[in-house]
Symmetry: C2
Subunit: 232 residues, 2 copies
Amino acid sequence: MKNGYARHTSFHVAVDCIIFGYDGIHLKILLVKRSFEPEKGKWSLVGGFLKDEESLDDAAERVLFELTGLSDLYLEQLYAYGDVQRDSGGRVISVAYFTLINTEVFNGLSSTKYGGKWHDIHEVPDLIFDHGTMVTKALRRLRRRAKTQPIGFELLPEKFTIPQLLNLYEAIYDREFDKRNFRKKILTLNVLEKLTEKDMKNSRKGAFYYKFNLDKYNQLIINGFVFDILSN
Amino acid sequence: MKNGYARHTSFHVAVDCIIFGYDGIHLKILLVKRSFEPEKGKWSLVGGFLKDEESLDDAAERVLFELTGLSDLYLEQLYAYGDVQRDSGGRVISVAYFTLINTEVFNGLSSTKYGGKWHDIHEVPDLIFDHGTMVTKALRRLRRRAKTQPIGFELLPEKFTIPQLLNLYEAIYDREFDKRNFRKKILTLNVLEKLTEKDMKNSRKGAFYYKFNLDKYNQLIINGFVFDILSN
């Protein structure tokens, strides 16, 4: 494409991805050891430079696909970072994205195969550049989203039990919820579909599996309903 | 600064600003007629290209200062737009910001002096490129922010009456609120400081002026209080 703006300065643009995963107990993020200078060998978010014929979203999808082999992930732009000195290797504008990996996929993403390693959100090592700031912001965004949108379901397998859903919310918000209130609240929302199958692994009585019903959820949203799993 | 990433493609980066103002009755945005090709003469957000030694925030502040002569405005990054074809003049990554101009300043910003013109939010003309999308997103963000943060006060003069505050909220949300409930709600929050002075222009009885007390507000936030002017 012809570029009429040639007299203006141009900049390297990158995307960096905060990848949240859930192992059934803890909320985690996937980090890689940086493979080039500067800061080679240090822990980093997964990222890459924007290419000519791709949008910012395309670049984030490509970077995630290269690392995980996965596409069609939940992907949300977080923020654009543009401080002059943010990258010691040269001026780079970085647009951060975050994504959510569900438990089943999580288990398939072995650390060695893709050169990434899952870290508990409470034990994130020092990260290069401003990546620590990005992680903090992403966690805040995840918490806000999970309050009002069914985003948490992206982190669970397709069928899940209420105790699993509760565990996930406890991991995201790093606090305990009242079991009975949580169950009542989530069932009242009427966005879960009860299956006939039970999980018998985690209790003698067993716990019914549920599926999230996106159609019902969308109906509620259209009718002005706000999904708020945490309010009283 | 030395740039070790030279082999990667570089891109033009711009900032575009959605400038909200309030004239005491209507919510408005400030637009300019584009002064260069392509799309010369069409309505556009105020924007500019990122320069070498400035951050994205710096660039947004500069662009706003050049247009309005104002600095220290409320400024919030909205979103980074990176579609390949978004700008018909060449590939440009645009980071959108929004800002709020208070009524007193608004009145001083005459349309001719700065080459900009205020448009009612309901009568925004066709805008170049993806600027219409940016405006829609900014309005959504403003509505969300004004619900839980005292952002609306940025649009008012330093001292204001409760009816003025109500008018502003009605303009932002484009609906009527119950006057009595609104007054009760906002006073219960205990973040307003009543002044001894009254506005006698708009009613026979007059309406006391108030100031927003940021210290009290910050105390509430620290204590886990959520500012929610609209809930019941």
